[in-house]
Amino acid sequence: MTRARPARGGPVSLALPWPVWVPAVAGFGLIAVPVAGLVVRTNWPDFGALITTDAALDALWLSLQTGLVSTALCLLLGTPLALVLARSDLPGLPVLRSIVLLPLVLPPVVGGLTLLFLLGRTGPVGQLLDAWFGITVPFSTAAVVIAQTFVAMPFLVVSLEGALRTAGERYEVVAATLGASPLTALRRVTLPVVLPGLVSGAVLAFARALGEFGATIAFAGNLQGTTQTLPLLIYIQSQNDLDGAVAMSLVLVVVAVLVIVATRTRDVSGVR
């Protein structure tokens, strides 16, 4: 157990009781040790070659692209959804909220299957898309994006709805008394005020989309260059080429860490 040295010229922080430290260290270890193990297990001499195979580069590129498009879709659809959940007085709002949060608790594979049943060639909507426009969604890059958006959007909605509720409607009331139309108030007051929540929600959604596996494999399949994202490739590789799987896992870890670091610095220096 360590005790923080009191910093001179600063406030004294209260000591945490020891029962907090032991589980805290164990919990941290549970996350940090396997990641460290990944670093140890990596085949460093061949690392460069392992992560620059055609399949690996295709998968990384596809993951970043689909992840960004999904995040954009989450912002486009999830922001208004969060506004409705936080600000409207629609009847049955709690039910609506539970449904929106379903992907958080549903196994992603189940989510993927439901999408497949709906949009598959024999599904109720898929049939119409095929008959009218000749569009087949499953096993396409679009399917990857839809699957990722499905699982990632609740993260954005939860984060943003929380920010909206914390901010309350007082600023919008002031804006209205200053002559701002509801749309102006949304654009120039509401969204800027909740921007930190919006950014952290978008980052969470992007991270979730990047790591998406279950829904993608069920709904979009595993075609290199089209639907094979990095997590899918890692899973396939782990069956026969562990070195490659470990190397690419490390890449994913680095990307995730970069995302977290980038948003943390933004939180501190940017919007307040």
Partner: protein
């Protein structure tokens, strides 16, 4: 049907200050064609009836152009509902609100103008400055919404900030402002849109006691210079004294009393007004050492806000600060006056002695109250008609500016 509200005829008003020379307003409260002036140009005429929790709010309020009306009332008397209705933030059951000839709310015909098209400003306890904008951009927000260009809006914002004495803070974010500074910026922001009606909801209640008088005096000057039609809701009698021409006292959703501020406070007829007003007020003009009454007597006191000698003023002190003597006391109190005891009013733990002018004594003591314990009354052995001396230390007497 409700009987029309009795209106006090107003002499030439103060509206249209030096910065708006071309906008001299007609003076009579009622025009020659019989229509109330407030209905035609600039004033507010509102009638609200709505059930709210345990009582029914049922009030009719008028504010003439350029007039400042204060609504005083205890918590739960319906003040917030009234403000909400006027601002368009609350839907009453039965109401009609007309501002400057525009019908903003009329439940009978289904008119409900949304808040952002009312031209009704609102300043509340919290400054609620937009946290992501600088002071300057906060003030420019309203003019920008009204369609003015960025450059023009920023120039107007700088002027308004200078008006309230915080020009040098224009680049600061709200998080970098003190409570008093933030409320000044909020005043500038509310006035920058030149609202037809300004609503003030306990605007100084959240400020600490050191900051409140200065901000109050800033608001008073800003409101007066613009001839801003204003409705003020407050608990604090001093707010009403400093800002308001007229006072409306609300209790359990009804108007129990209304009239010119000084009259209502000096002779409260309702229990609530008596309790909150429970202050001794002497009107006159500000002097170097306190206040000069119309008869030329001097009441020694301390000028609280920025009040200049010769300006209309009111001296305020609590009845508990008045000591009562059988014989002329000597010692430090600067204000020692002969009075004739008019009445003894038992009020719970204390007895309130009400003064009348003594023969040959100063007339301003008429109605002045002194609070003493029952034991002190017994010791003095006084009764109505006795001649006494009242003494008040100058440090207990606050001299505030007063609306003309």
């Amino acid at each position: 049907m409700r009987p029309p509200i009795r209106r006090r005829p107003r002499a030439f008003d103060r509206a249209g200050g030096p910065d708006r020379p071309g906008e001299g307003r007609p003076s009579p409260a009622v025009s020659s064609d019989g229509a109330p002036r407030s209905e035609r140009d600039g004033g507010l005429r509102a009638r609200v009836t709505t059930r709210r929790g345990g009582f029914t709010l049922d009030v009719a309020v008028e504010v003439a152009p350029g007039e400042v009306v204060a609504v005083l009332g205890p918590n739960g008397s319906g003040k917030s509902t009234l403000l909400g209705t006027l601002a368009g933030l609350y839907t009453p059951e039965d109401a009609r609100v007309v501002l400057g000839g525009r019908t903003l709310t009329d439940t009978a015909s289904g008119v409900a103008v949304p808040a952002h098209r009312r031209r009704v400003g609102l300043l509340s306890q919290q400054a609620l400055l937009f946290p992501h904008l600088t002071a300057r951009d906060n003030v420019a927000f309203g003019p920008r919404c009204a369609g003015r260009g960025r450059r023009e809006a920023l120039a107007a914002a700088r002027e308004r900030l200078a008006d309230v004495g915080v020009a040098e803070l224009e680049g600061r974010r709200p998080a970098e402002l003190s409570g008093g500074q933030a409320q000044r910026v909020a005043i500038a922001r509310a006035l920058a849109v030149e609202p037809d009606l300004l609503l003030l909801d306990e605007p100084f209640a959240a400020l600490d006691v050191d900051a409140a008088p200065a901000v109050r005096s800033v608001l008073r000057r800003a409101v007066r210079r613009r001839g801003q039609t204003t409705l003020l809701v407050t608990h604090d009698v001093v707010d009403a004294v400093v800002l308001a021409d007229r006072l409306v006292v609300l209790a359990e959703g009804r108007i129990v009393e209304q009239g010119p501020t000084a009259e209502v406070l000096a002779r409260p007829r309702s229990a609530f007004a008596a309790r909150i007003a429970g202050l001794d007020l002497v009107t006159g003009t500000a002097a170097e050492t306190g206040l000069t009454t119309p008869e030329g007597a001097v009441v020694h006191g301390l000028a609280s806000a920025e009040v200049e000698a010769g300006e209309p003023a009111v001296a305020v002190f609590p009845p508990s600060a008045v000591s009562v003597h059988r014989h002329r006391p000597d010692g430090s109190p600067r204000n020692v006056v002969p009075v004739r005891l008019a009445a003894l009013e038992p009020q719970g733990e204390i007895v309130r002695l009400r003064a009348a002018a003594a023969p040959g004594g100063p007339p301003w003591v008429e109605g002045i109250a002194a609070d003493v314990t029952p034991a002190a009354v017994a010791e003095l052995g006084v009764g109505p008609g006795d001649d006494l001396w009242f003494a008040v230390k100058a440090t207990e007497v606050a001299v505030h500016p007063r609306r003309r």
